[in-house]
Symmetry: C2
Subunit: 410 residues, 2 copies
Amino acid sequence: MPTFVIKQISIRQARYPLKPGEGADAVHSIPEYAYAVTELHTGLPETGIGLAFTLGPGTDLVCSAVETLAGPLVGREIEELMADFGRVFRQIADHPQYRWLGPHKGVVHLALASITNACFDLWAKARQVPLWKLLFDLSPEQILSLLDLSYLEDALQPSDVISLLQANHAGRSQRSSILASGYPGYDTSVGWFQYSDEQVYTNTQRAVAAGFTAMKLKVGSKDSQRDIRRARLVRQAAGPQARIMFDANQQWTLPQAVRICLDLAEMDPFWIEEPTHPDDVLAHQALAHAIAPVRIAAGEHIPNRILFKNFIQARAAHFIQADAVRVGGISEFLTISLLARKYGLPVVPHVGDMGQIHQHLVLFNHIALGQEPVFLEYIPHLRDYFRLPAQVEGGVYRTPQEPGSSSDLL
Amino acid sequence: MPTFVIKQISIRQARYPLKPGEGADAVHSIPEYAYAVTELHTGLPETGIGLAFTLGPGTDLVCSAVETLAGPLVGREIEELMADFGRVFRQIADHPQYRWLGPHKGVVHLALASITNACFDLWAKARQVPLWKLLFDLSPEQILSLLDLSYLEDALQPSDVISLLQANHAGRSQRSSILASGYPGYDTSVGWFQYSDEQVYTNTQRAVAAGFTAMKLKVGSKDSQRDIRRARLVRQAAGPQARIMFDANQQWTLPQAVRICLDLAEMDPFWIEEPTHPDDVLAHQALAHAIAPVRIAAGEHIPNRILFKNFIQARAAHFIQADAVRVGGISEFLTISLLARKYGLPVVPHVGDMGQIHQHLVLFNHIALGQEPVFLEYIPHLRDYFRLPAQVEGGVYRTPQEPGSSSDLL
């Protein structure tokens, strides 16, 4: 087997226009989907590609941060690097001068995501396996060495990681049947914020016809009656069996959220997502009490394992929507998944990567960790730009078979 | 009175070398003090200078973000701008594409700090008064219009702002005596992390001789016995009456923090600062319970009013160390001060600005808000680089009299 030494690193912005209305929500009114892309060159055909997701301009800030932070990886061999990746992660995250700019959040942490994801991609390509298979074949000790568990000592010890993996080893082969049947998806694109009522209705019917059993509507209008009217439409078009979710993109104050969530309960939502500010652990906790049994999903703007720990400990969210292109990459995503597993909460990723990387990660979470396979968000808007776009057919993700993390862009 | 229109904006990095050991703590081992500086040019001698604090490289990222975010200020007249600054603040903070990079934290929020502070500086210079006097002369309604209270609806309403200011109006003239006597300072520079035991001892004696009644030691060593030994030295050198504080710069896990804080209690600390990760609201809450009556200070890495609200509501910190060059500038500092006042907690700023701006803000907090004048951190390392360095004599800050926020750099 050849050795894969990182000989050179290049960084670039990949920015993609969207069609009118696509991707728009109550706060991100004019999104442009974009990635800060880290490329690890080996002099061999295998190049490690790492993504961090942004919304257009500002991607250059993340790229600039990658430029400095990734420097120490040059000259490292990928197997040797990944044997101790938890320490590498922590060194980058705790850079004695850049750390001030976070810590562990914002531009510098997005940069770490891009770097981390490139390392995992190269590692899987070097071993010539898809990312899910790479992770699947690691020992509990090897998984542990990928993680930075600092500041989780009161919640997740190294011994917990080992025992969670060992305890879930038994059911693996049974749960592996999902590799053949496919991981269920849900359709986020039926109800972008600016779509007309008619579009939302038609899109929902089309999603059901395409095999989706779950779909999401953007809410958070200034006029809450609009939200409620559209939520009813989605329920009507989707039928009583479908799971429907409402996503407010942080547009509500706590008092508003309580009121509107209770109104939306009529439509039997599977969850209500990002009801208020993503830093507001206690507001989510209070809301969860006030609107039970309606459940809360949060995570696309939660930057790191420490804030996730707070949400989990406070029982402030019921669905953990960590995103490997928002937190410090695949490594921290795994840490958060283990934490959620220990506390009995499902991880249902937000997919800034359009599901490309997460289609691997949810297979690991289900098969190796015994997480419930709830479903995985599906957003098709960038599928023409990926070399190996996720294959979603009949409402399920087909298991990727090519080496790597499916992050290569055309 | 001439009108002050922002005709042009320039942005620059100001980076300053430190002498060996200065500024170093358990996590920031090789600091370089630096500012992302926003300059608002009016075509008149008055230029608005705004600072955001960083630790060296990475300042350029903040400057780049200022470049885009400050654009809409060009052509605005300063009185007209500040009449509605709360809305301006919110528009910049919620930029539909840059918001993703935070939200309200990290590089983009530091950029907002620099912009906000430049606006306040220009405003005070236009009115030819020091910042404290500018704030002092505003009506409660005018103060309110400077603030973005979004996501505080469950804790601080507009009516609370008005009534806090009105209720504290009566004692103003009595509390104004501090303008003549000076605001007490405390000395942070006696015990930087890498200073020898001998240096710490001598520095402490020198601080006491210079009139300081309070001083701080950096702790958070890998060897906790070193921390305890040095804490004893400071207590010995400072005498039993002095207030001494210990600053761990986030180096402890929660279980470690509990153990070491209980050991440090022997030295009767006035507070223990940044015991663990600044995002970990619940760990601070648990620690506060476990080590009572020892009190916790936190804030230099808490990025915004929403996380401060969580710390305050959770009773996870006893001293609120907001920093106007870390949160979104003077506007958000005032918001946090009002919030803390409502909940009965003192604001004792961290001074990334070396106290230049905060010497004004603590006067406002004491005189107009009725905050207890605990003391203000003093760090002398950059005094040669400011045009009007804070005058600290006999352990107290002399009230600045020149127009502006004392942010002009040489």
